[in-house]
């Protein structure tokens, strides 16, 4: 689950697109929700307006630029949350559910002041709240299940024993 350092960080992020380095200033979680349905352009959209201009020109003339931005988008989402990118994207999407958002608001959270890492952690805590160990294991397993094409993410994820325990929990054993 999220590393403490990533959750508290207010430092800028660094990306490299079309051979050029860019600094992305810290932004609140409201600027990260684009990751829910347009993850592929996240890194570019978090750039400053001046950098977006330069980046646009480079992207138009550089083969493979779209894949570069996609990869950098996933990388910074993981870096900013201390999670795998798909875990963070799932938590962000879950937080937009009306009831979940309502609970986060009632808890006094302000998305204009919170980092994406803190927001994901709060959503994660909300989903685990009140569940026993078996139910928590199920939720955690669903969260960390890699999407199609990302199966390699298992390699740096849970151990085989963790996975077996999660499968057993899913089967109600």
């Amino acid at each position: 689950m999220p590393s403490d350092v990533a959750l508290l960080a207010r430092s800028p992020l660094y990306i490299r697109v079309c051979g050029r380095d860019y600094v992305l200033p810290w932004r609140p979680v409201t600027d990260w929700v684009v990751a829910v349905d347009r993850l592929g352009s996240l890194a570019a959209r978090l750039a400053t307006p001046e950098d977006r201009e330069r980046m646009s020109e480079d992207i138009l003339t550089t083969p493979g630029a779209v894949e570069q931005v996609q990869q950098e988008s996933k990388r910074i989402l993981a870096e900013a949350t201390g999670l795998k990118w798909f875990e963070a994207a799932r938590l962000l999407a879950a937080s937009l559910d009306t009831e979940t958002m309502g609970r986060l608001m009632l808890a006094g959270l302000d998305p204009e002041r919170m980092s994406v890492g803190q927001w994901c952690a709060a959503t994660y805590a909300l989903y685990l709240k009140g569940h026993n160990q078996e139910e928590r294991t199920k939720i955690q397993f669903m969260l960390m299940l890699p999407p199609a094409g990302e199966e390699d993410a298992w390699d740096d994820g849970p151990t085989p024993d963790d996975a077996m325990a999660a499968v057993a929990a899913l089967n109600g054993k």
Partner: protein, 107 residues
């Protein structure tokens, strides 16, 4: 594949209407389409959007078509929204055509 029997499919022409006149466009390569979609999604300045649309769409325009569209743009007969609409319609038609090809290929 047997090269002796392979035949090249004729290029697809997409007829796109732009404020009263219909123009011919060819298929845009997927890579260039994806790059332009990304740039438009990045919401850069109108100047950069115009430059991106014009440089990319010019490659898909039929003979003399882009000169006519540029002239109409300069004369303010059409605007950036109309040019954006050309790209939107072209990508929609390309997607529809690709889907049809995939369906017929699967049969």
């Amino acid at each position: 594949m047997d090269d002796n029997t392979a035949t090249e499919a004729p290029p697809i022409i997409y007829k796109i209407p732009v404020k009263g006149t219909t123009y011919d466009f060819h298929e845009l390569p997927t890579e260039e389409t994806s790059r332009l979609v990304l740039v438009l999604d990045m919401a850069p300045s109108p100047h950069t959007i115009a430059k991106a649309l014009f440089t990319t769409l010019a490659k898909a325009a039929g003979d003399g078509v882009w000169d006519q569209i540029t002239e109409r743009f300069v004369a303010q007969d059409i605007d950036l929204d109309d040019v954006t609409d050309i790209f939107r319609r072209l990508t929609q038609r390309m997607a529809k055509s690709a889907k049809a090809r995939k369906t017929s290929g699967a049969q």
